[in-house]
Point group: D2
Chain length 130, copies 4
């Protein structure tokens, strides 16, 4: 028996994967920063890391459900990820911060591309043929 | 003993309260829609309700921590809340959908105002004097 | 025109309100702790505050949709809120930490009560009579 | 330059990965159910799918930050994942529901194991030697 169903587009799923990886490393890196202390726990840096984790979570979920209304959210996610990467860049010689910055930039690039898609354009949600 | 600390601005807290109320009614209204069935469970309507609940949650949290990087997120939240309100409007004569649309519009208005604030402008985070 | 619909029980809504208030004050208090620094940014304290905010969010949402499967989640929320309150208690003379501890205890008490309800018992989800 | 830092245990990271995969497939499967309609949009089934996505998200995040207070949450996650799997099982012949049930069971098994660890036992958070 066949079911018409829902499959988000490959672009959406790939970008959601980036967003989830970025959320994960941010959550871990916040804990790393708390453990290290000093300039790593500067309030605006940790606030940005929390914001980044959160907007990545929302972005990933919206893309996985194929939301055509994603454009402003993915654009916001790209901006916050880029800011977070820059904030992480300042901790030279810290491998965790470097890994976090790299993941943030990968997510920012993926989100930037998706954000520029025509609204509702390739929003996935194709009905599979029965 | 005095502590310098953090207090988000009143505008931020008020907007966060709208965002949380909007998230709450969306979560309840999704369940209402499932219970009612029929056109209430139309995929794009329920997807939008889920997106709205989620971006409201993120918006509320970012504002409560006084994030200066909120502008694109609050703008996205305003847009999605307005779309969600319009989607709820179609169910005339359904008090729950009317209440949800009203709350979405209140949140959209509050977020729209905050989104237009100068980035980092009134981001709260005042240090109280010791 | 009448619609059968969904209304979560008053107990559920009240407990969800406690959970949301607790989440909100935890989010704000994390930022307060980062601003104050010193022992306020001790890793296990801030980790617990983040956990508390997060389980409160999940608990609130589950209750708002009237989930009969809430018991273990509300019990977990009660435990984590109580631990978070104890962790906040240590910062004597800090009004924000006191307010956070109080809110955590109110949420813990509400969740404890709901957790002991018979599974699925008063899960709300009453169909309103047309 | 070396930094003492934070690394969650391998068991925690692996379980968090299961939780995130389970959240992802639940989010997608909810949209699939809405698209298919009929018995797929039965209120208690979709409520459970939403609960499952949400507790998985919380569980994943708690584990990634190495929380010693995870036991009740991972136990709750295991229970809800198992119930969600059973709910998905009923839709025989639907590949998406089958895939979702399988992922829920993998997550339930991983969470069950972690839940039984001594509280705080292998909570990770090892300080790497400088």
């Amino acid at each position: 028996m066949a079911h018409k169903g829902f499959t988000p587009s490959k672009t959406f799923v790939d970008t959601a994967t980036h967003a989830q990886s970025c959320q994960s490393i941010c959550v871990q890196t916040i804990q790393h920063c708390l453990q290290v202390g000093g300039s790593h726990v500067e309030p605006s840096h940790l606030r940005l890391m929390q914001d980044c984790a959160e907007i990545c979570e929302t972005t990933g979920t919206m893309l996985l459900r194929g939301s055509p209304q994603h454009n402003q959210v993915t654009a916001a996610c790209a901006s916050i990820c880029e800011l977070c990467a820059q904030s992480c860049d300042r901790f030279t010689g810290d491998a965790q911060m470097k890994a976090c910055a790299d993941e943030c930039r990968r997510c920012a690039a993926a989100c930037q591309q998706v954000a520029q898609m025509r609204p509702g354009g390739a929003a996935g949600g194709h009905h599979s043929v029965p």
